[in-house]
């Protein structure tokens, strides 16, 4: 009943089968290359030749495009407009808007920065679509990430939908006692206490129970823990990670070299 707050789409694909760390490195590599590469068209090309084909390979293209259109494009578009209008660079004015000049240079600059942001957000979206959050966390914990850190991430993802469901039940219970939540604003403002009170008390009690429950299973024990759920980490994963790391180093080196 309680689903997780996550983008994850359960499919079987070559990307889903990759080790979670490989996907994290892939994401970071795409972002770093987009931001450091000295060549102007790199971020644009990365979207066309890497991110979009990868979303097809991972069989999450419909979900990916939906998120891109709804979320990433408006944000990147807004950034583009701000940068195009307010970046005081360049001479060749294309058009004037009151006191704001839009120049060829500021357009070019804005196009690249918004594409960089687009790469950053879409690479993360792609990773979240193809990686189960608990799988990612258990893999990272196995590699030495502190368990407490993983707990904070995972429990946040779990608690939000649970609180939502709980809030819904509380609203139903109070409406059943004649609380009017549908009429005037004043009446509704007065109905906050009966709704928030049980939600806060209940959630605090739940947090404590959860803490006791995981401690009962030796959460803070210093011993090395075994995992019921084995996460594959193949040789090709390792090769992919090395190749990506080298690409990032080359990109950063070129940047330093050329500047």
């Amino acid at each position: 009943m309680h689903e997780r707050l996550s983008f994850y789409v359960q499919r079987s694909s070559a990307i889903h089968d990759l080790n979670p760390l490989t996907k994290v490195i892939l994401t970071l590599a795409l972002i770093l290359i987009a931001f450091t590469s000295p060549w102007y068209w790199t971020p644009h090309l990365l979207v066309l030749i890497a991110i979009i084909p990868l979303s097809f390979l991972g069989r999450v293209a419909p979900e990916f495009f939906k998120t891109a259109i709804r979320l990433i494009l408006p944000a990147a578009g807004f950034l583009f407009l701000m940068q195009a209008f307010f970046q005081p660079v360049g001479e060749s004015v294309i058009f004037k808007f009151y006191f704001l000049d839009v120049t060829q240079e500021s357009l070019m600059f804005a196009f690249r920065s918004s594409m960089r942001v687009f790469v950053m957000v879409s690479a993360f979206t792609f990773m979240l679509l193809t990686t189960h959050p608990s799988e990612l966390m258990s893999d990272l914990t196995r590699r030495g990430l502190p368990g407490q850190f993983a707990y904070v991430i995972i429990s946040t993802l779990q608690i939000l939908p649970q609180m939502q469901a709980k809030a819904q039940t509380i609203i139903s219970a109070q409406r059943s006692r004649g609380l009017d939540t549908e009429s005037s604003f004043l009446k509704r403002a007065g109905s906050v206490v009966p709704l928030v009170g049980p939600l806060v008390f209940g959630s605090l009690a739940e947090v404590e129970e959860r803490a006791i429950a995981i401690e009962a299973r030796g959460f803070t024990s210093k011993k090395i823990k075994t995992s019921l759920h084995e996460i594959a980490d193949s040789n090709s994963d390792k090769i992919i990670r090395w190749v990506l790391t080298i690409l990032v180093i080359i990109s950063i080196a070129l940047k330093i070299w050329l500047s």
């Binding site: 109070q174 409406r175 059943s176 006692r177 004649g178 008390f201």
Partner: protein, 264 residues
């Protein structure tokens, strides 16, 4: 107040068909238990009685009110609903204020509210705890506060969602006493329960639901005797009923008294 349900169907937004054509009528003053496995549609059904859910198809009438035409806050004057978990509704700093909340929402006069609150507290044996913060009480007593806060609304129909789950024997007896008292006052009591002994001892009519449909509906003795049919919805008849069957007693027995009478 009569409840009339006509060919009620309900589909959740997720596409789950929770109720698939239920027709029932419950007369004023009846004591009805609703049993059935988890997911059979018990809670979904009773949430239609006070308008928390609206029929996808069909209709629910509470007296002369069609639930589609009245808000939940309005229907609260006819149907009281005690939720399963008291912690999901208690918020006041003391028991007295908590119990007052419902009748005050219904807009009764001050004298009437005081009278109703005093009666509800007496009925639930909370009279000496009016000043206590509900969260300082044990879970069993918090349950009684939740009961009192709905009984004080003085609705002709009262719904209990699994009132005995997690309660000790003393509190189950208290809840049974409350139900008996409501019956004496001529109120309709509808209870969802998994506690089949509680069901056998306190209710005249039992409705068994399975997969969103009525599997059995009738006098408690008739329904609880249908061991094979009840098994379809994972309900076991009470131990004494099953023992009576094995012993070859002619009539279906529900409690100790009936069992002993049938033996002698």
């Amino acid at each position: 107040m009569k409840i009339e349900i006509k060919d009620l169907r309900f589909t959740y937004p997720t596409g789950l068909d929770a109720l698939r054509g239920i027709s029932l009528s419950i007369e004023a003053g009846e004591q009805v238990a609703i049993v059935g496995q988890n997911g059979a549609g018990k809670t979904t059904l009773v949430r239609h009685f006070n308008g928390l859910l609206q029929p996808t198809l069909g209709s629910v009438m509470i007296g002369d009110w069609d639930t589609k035409k009245y808000s939940v806050a309005k229907l609260a004057s006819r149907v009281g609903y005690v939720f399963q978990n008291p912690d999901e509704q208690l918020f006041s700093k003391d028991v007295g204020a908590e119990v007052k909340f419902g009748p005050r929402n219904l807009g009764y006069s001050k004298e009437k509210i005081d009278g109703l609150v005093t009666r509800a507290l007496a009925l639930t044996e909370l009279s000496d705890k009016t000043e206590t913060n509900p969260y300082d009480l044990s879970p069993t007593w918090r349950k009684m506060v939740a009961l009192a806060s709905v009984i004080a609304m003085d609705t002709p129909i009262v719904i209990f969602d699994e009132p005995t789950t997690g309660q000790d024997a003393a509190n189950v007896a208290r809840i049974a006493h409350v139900i008996a008292e409501l019956r004496r006052e001529g109120k309709t009591v509808i209870t969802i329960t998994h506690d089949i002994d509680f069901c056998a001892e306190n209710f005249e009519r039992v409705i068994a639901l399975a997969n969103g449909q009525v599997l059995l509906d009738g006098a408690a003795a008739d329904v609880l005797g249908q061991e094979e049919i009840l098994a379809q919805t994972y309900v076991d008849p009470p131990q004494l009923t099953r023992l009576g069957k094995r012993l070859g007693l002619k009539e279906t027995v529900r409690n100790q008294e009936e069992f002993l009478n049938a033996l002698s």
